[in-house]
Symmetry: C2
Subunit: 132 residues, 2 copies
Amino acid sequence: MDSAKILSQHNIKPSIIRVMIYDFVKNTKSHPTVDEIYKHLQPMAPTLSRTTVYNSVKLFASSGLFKALSIDGIQIRYDADIGHHGHFRCEECDRVFDFKIHEDAESGLDGFDITKREIFYSGSCIECKSKN
Amino acid sequence: MDSAKILSQHNIKPSIIRVMIYDFVKNTKSHPTVDEIYKHLQPMAPTLSRTTVYNSVKLFASSGLFKALSIDGIQIRYDADIGHHGHFRCEECDRVFDFKIHEDAESGLDGFDITKREIFYSGSCIECKSKN
DNA sequence: TTACAAAATTGTAATAATTACAACTCTGTA
DNA sequence: TACAGAGTTGTAATTATTACAATTTTGTAA
């Protein structure tokens, strides 16, 4: 669907920059950081400010369009795929891979209201592993 | 077991401050941050430096004694419980709860070498939920 | 005990991500 | 065209973390 329409449906005015930010995160598998978003879009939108990127991704996250991930514990990354899935970060090549969760039973949270679930693994990906 | 012995077994010299840091994290359910560790121990050890706390928790983490958690995406928290369990953070009262994981099947990571697993949920805890 | 090397600890300064905020620009409508 | 409100920008402040050199402590051998 048209990105501008998606934003409108969430009561967010689809300004050019917002649509650009939304599209970039949506089409980028690696779940970019604010800095990566800024560096990628800045050549096309020379007056773009980092603050605008921060404002926009926070707005999207609070509207449920993005999930904020703390994959590496250093920077916050943004993911436009809202479905429940895990993230694996390879510590050698630094790439982030999505994976599916099949089952996920927990105990100790009876009566709790769970609104956000994040599954984060790390180690070596299959390519880096075979190099060693 | 004696904390000093545990450190020794991991080839870490059990200096007084290191043992204090280890004990505090081990006995604190909330998985403290470096700042919380520092603020708690500083009155007892007036010359304590934040750098020492950073050095120590990093040392413990690299030796497998601690797990580094990025629970809130802002600060890194440390956990002396190495077993596989999840963390739930209540967004209202900011407390962190541990919970057990029963099953945990994933697909898409065949051939990957997984060295670290972190499960992080958030929402409202049972107490805050009943207040509303 | 003394001397000395190695390890641990400390404090300051630098770095980097994020936030606060005031000024400026754009958009839509009367 | 005028104006209000929303959006965007840039600078400065804040905060967590790291780098690093100086100082202190520890363990060991003379």
